[in-house]
């Protein structure tokens, strides 16, 4: 397999350069178009939500018509829709996502504050879940039907179907508060303690300490999907004749698996990983809520409750944008990884 691919590349690469560029341009163009659609949709979608934004902003305060008018003026809500859209686009180009109704602060600033914690939490959890899932999926498939397979699959699928909120609360009570003789090992909420001594190491340790429970909850829930995809695609590969060839060459089973079967079986998983990376930014609303993690998921949830239009719009664009970018990357990478896609 590998040999064929190498020869193929060497022989045909020069002739293909324009086609590759075209492919890249097509994918990037598609991505850009999707982004544009997201922006347009983001603007109009939230305009059809029931309710008057100016009334939303004042919540339950008794305000006069003049005060309402002043608010509408300040947020440009008295302008016709197309003018609002034009202003919105103009600001967006400059990276200005507008001002949040709830916080009276720039949306970009609010998102900037929350994106770090979310990437830290969901990113760490995804990396761990991918590693764990791939490893377990490989084990399960290689000796499918065996005890490891049965255990991994049933535990993984059980956790996958458990409500995240509930699992988080269980972990919080067991390892945050402590049950019986088991002391509470981890903090129950937040991302950092206020009283950590100065210095980088204590701060990092403190955040790591807070990270454990929400991260474990997320890993427990999401690792099963990587495991199942890896397991099934590896099972598919295992029937292939090139593995028999490899074994016939006298390669040890370990190497047949690692050098031949796994690289091929990884392909479908790559797409899944990239799609998931797109979701990393959106945060994990339930987990962030259970553990009061100050991330983007929580911000979105709060914005939706009010509803805070500019904030919703901003989070929607950031979230959808990250998914699109990751999708484009996945497609480009897939082509690099899988020669069959290139040939077709």
């Amino acid at each position: 397999m590998t040999e064929t691919r190498d020869r193929d590349d060497v022989r045909r690469a020069p002739a293909r350069a324009p086609r590759i560029l075209g492919f890249v341009a097509l994918k990037l163009g598609g991505g850009a178009l999707s982004l544009l659609l997201v922006v347009v949709l983001g603007f109009f979608l939230f305009r059809v939500l029931p309710g008057d934004p100016a009334r939303t902003m004042t919540r339950s305060a008794p305000v006069s018509a003049e005060q309402l008018a002043a608010l509408r003026d300040r947020f440009g809500l008295d302008q016709p829709l197309y003018v609002q859209f034009r202003d919105f686009l103009g600001k967006l180009v400059r990276g200005d996502l507008g001002t949040s109704y709830t916080y009276n602060r720039p949306v970009a600033e609010l998102i900037g504050e929350r994106i770090g914690p979310t990437v830290l939490l969901v990113g760490t959890a995804t990396v761990l879940a991918v590693l764990l899932g791939l490893w377990m999926g490989t084990r399960a498939a290689w000796r499918h039907g065996g005890s490891a397979d049965r255990w991994f699959t049933s535990v993984g699928l059980t956790l996958w179907s458990v409500p995240t909120f509930w699992l988080g609360l269980l972990l919080l009570m067991a390892f945050g508060v402590g049950v019986g003789p088991l002391p509470g090992l981890f903090p129950v909420a937040g991302m950092s303690s206020p009283d950590v001594p100065a210095g980088a190491l204590p701060r990092v340790l403190d955040v790591a300490h807070h990270l454990v429970l929400p991260c474990v909850t997320l890993v427990a829930v999401i690792h099963a999907q990587f495991m199942m995809v890896m397991r099934s695609s590896l099972l598919e590969e295992m029937g292939e004749e090139y593995l028999t060839t490899a074994r016939a060459k006298g390669l040890r089973e370990d190497l047949v698996r690692r050098r031949h079967a796994i690289p091929n079986a990884l392909l479908p998983t790559v797409t899944l990983i990239f799609l998931h990376l797109g979701l990393v930014v959106s945060g994990a609303i339930t987990v962030e809520t259970v553990f009061s993690w100050p991330g983007l998921g929580l911000l979105t949830y709060e914005a939706l409750r009010v509803p805070d239009l500019p904030l919703l719009q901003g989070t929607f664009i950031v979230l959808a944008g990250s998914v699109i970018v990751m999708n484009v990357l996945a497609e480009l990478l897939y082509r690099v990884l899988d020669p069959r896609v290139r040939a077709s």
Partner: protein, 617 residues
């Protein structure tokens, strides 16, 4: 390894071994150093030994630290701690007491008010607090619409505000205003705020925030915590605690668990179930305070805007006061208190909750509409709403009595109340369709009059003017959408009583007028007061011996009209002497152990693999 053939038993046992080592590594520090972990429980979060920090769990984010903009309850609570107000409310019984103003007088026509400002009060940056700061604050609200966002309603009726000298503020109003003695507007330092051009865009997050209260904000992390340090130079004297910290929790269950564990000292806004579950919990004292809220079922009496034009989709039958009173008789309030609130509340009667003893009015026996389905059925028969062949009552026009009941979708209280009411009204031959929607939609539909029945409720201030005003004709939305209606009551007699109480400066006479207004509201039956929920709180009794409650009898310890609870919290000896060590050390051991072991395992496995691989090829 190299000898092994064809991977009969690959490295599964090895993985198990690694896992075991990792788990052992995780638990080792726990087993070996129980002391390190008990420090975690004991850790009071203070920086130094002997300093006391009071940590309060809150379930709401500060919408803004700018006192002109922030009006979430969390934010206003902080403003009460860091900015002075002219007057405040006593912890004993909510009566108005001097704060920044030592005394005040009004002209004979009640249009001019003079407040005498306390001498020797300083801002936290050392500048004196003067009458000019007060005048500046009000003037900014009157001239800058952004500055009127949070408290604009206080200055609506102001003609002008001036400070003839450092010690006096003179306020002239357009019409007499009885609320002049309780202007809950945070006063800001002019020398800081005059440099702020754009109030709407100013976050006020430069630490420490310049204020002049018992505490000073020194640290704020959005959605995580806000720290306040005691101001030793506070004019009333330094607070008993050294530091106050509000810790954010996104869900109240986590806050309760944090209280059990000792990560926070006070948890509030507990649900009845959480409150009951904390009964008998070690080192936890529960506080069941009388609530300031009333919980109301509004019946649409034919909504109209301020121009008198009918709006909305209200059912015509509800315009008939006899129907509204009959519905009132079909609601068993004590059942609701028992089953919905778990007994943690008071049966509703008059408009103002019993916590405000002076103003609370409850219908006397002759006027009370006690629960009776038979009486309600009879009343509807007599009023001319006979049952149709399907058992559903019909109005004079033949339209069946089927009501849309709008509820707050995320409130379990609303959901339960909705089910009970639906059941009771079906006994009257009335169909109710429950419509749980978002909070925002509840507000929108209420303002637009698009409901037959809707749940409402308000927190009542010590001065009842604010909520009484909600039931006046003037509170109805104007055609452009301003105003804030509650039950769309527009009744001449009520309005007359309301205006008279607002202009009445004799306390006894005003109390009487407020009572008469409530009686009229009860007669009209546009808003049925179902109950007054208790405010449920709990605190760590091992660290705090008590808090000054407001009011003194069955009061609350947080979210007061003033700063008493936090200002006069009583730390225990244990809280004062506990070592200032935080729990991070033990955690550090655990994590470092895990990381080291994990790294070691990965390293050794990969080295072995590489070696065997090289060996083979």
């Amino acid at each position: 390894m190299g000898v092994r053939t064809a991977g009969v038993r690959p490295s599964f046992p090895r993985a198990a071994a690694v896992a075991t080592v990792v788990i052992a590594g995780l638990l080792l520090p726990v087993v070996l150093a129980p002391g390190a972990l008990s420090a975690n429980e004991r850790g009071d979060g203070s920086g130094q030994e002997g300093e006391v920090t009071l940590r309060v769990g809150i379930q709401q984010e500060f919408d803004s630290l700018n006192p002109f903009l922030g009006f979430s309850r969390a934010a206003t609570e902080v403003f009460r701690l860091i900015y002075p107000t002219l007057t405040t409310h006593s912890s004993e019984d909510f009566s108005v007491v001097p704060e920044l103003a030592t005394d005040w007088e009004s002209s004979r026509d009640k249009l001019t008010w003079t407040f005498h400002i306390r001498e020797g009060v300083k801002w936290s940056d050392g500048e004196p607090v003067t009458a000019h700061d007060v005048a500046y604050t009000f003037n900014r609200m009157m001239t800058d619409s952004a500055a009127a966002t949070a408290n604009g309603n206080y200055v609506d009726n102001f003609a002008d505000v001036s400070a003839p000298d450092e010690g006096r503020v003179v306020i002239r109003t357009e019409t007499p205003q009885a609320t002049m003695r309780s202007l809950a507007v945070p006063v800001v330092p002019e020398h800081v705020w005059s440099r702020v051009d754009d109030v709407a865009g100013f976050a006020n997050r430069e630490m420490p925030i310049v204020g002049s209260g018992p505490f000073e904000v020194t640290d704020y992390r959005p959605q995580q915590y806000l720290t306040l340090e005691a101001d030793e130079d506070f004019w009333r004297g330094a607070p008993t605690i050294d530091r106050l910290r509000f810790v954010n929790f996104e869900n109240s269950d986590a806050a309760v668990q944090a209280l059990r564990k000792g990560e926070i000292d006070v948890a509030r806004k507990l649900t009845p179930a959480q409150f009951d579950a904390l009964k008998g919990a070690e080192n936890i004292e529960r506080v069941k305070g009388k609530g300031r809220r009333f919980y109301e079922l509004v019946l649409n009496p034919g909504a109209a805007n301020s121009a008198g034009d009918p709006i909305g989709t209200g059912h015509p039958a509800l315009r008939d006061a006899r129907v509204r009173r009959a519905l009132d008789r079909a609601i068993d309030r004590s059942e609701l208190v028992d089953r919905v609130l778990g007994g943690h509340g008071t049966v509703g009667a008059g408009y103002l909750p019993p916590i405000f003893r002076k103003y609370h009015w409850s219908p006397p026996d002759g006027e009370r509409r006690s629960f009776s389905l038979e009486a309600a059925n009879r009343a509807l028969d007599e009023a001319g709403y006979p049952r149709g062949p399907d058992g559903i009552r019909r109005g004079p026009s033949g339209r069946p009595l089927d009501f849309e009941f709008v509820l707050h979708g995320d409130s379990s209280t609303d959901a339960l109340v909705g089910e009970f009411v639906e059941e009771w009204l079906s006994g009257l031959g009335i169909e109710v369709s429950l419509q749980p929607v978002s909070d925002n939609q509840v507000n929108q539909r209420t303002t637009a009059g698009d409901f037959d029945m809707v749940i409402s409720g308000w927190s009542v201030n010590p001065d009842p003017d604010y909520v009484l005003r909600l039931q006046t004709c003037g509170a109805r939305p104007d055609p452009e959408g301003g105003g804030l209606p509650d039950s769309f009551l527009c009744d001449e007699r009520y309005d007359e009583l309301y205006s008279r109480q607002l202009a009445e400066f004799d306390r006894h006479a005003r109390v009487e007028l407020v009572e008469r207004a409530q009686r009229r509201f009860h007669e009209m039956a546009t808003g049925l007061i179902l109950f007054y929920p208790n405010a449920l709180e709990a605190y760590r009794s091992d660290r705090f011996a008590g808090f000054e409650k407001q009011p003194a009898e069955r009061g609350v310890i947080t979210a007061q009209q003033g700063y008493w609870g936090y200002y006069r919290a009583e730390p225990t000896e244990r809280a004062r002497t506990a070592a200032g060590e935080t729990g991070y050390r033990s955690a550090a051991f655990v994590i470092v152990g895990v990381l080291l072991l994990g790294a070691l395992a990965v390293f050794s496995v990969s080295v072995r693999r590489r070696r065997t691989a090289e060996h083979r090829e």
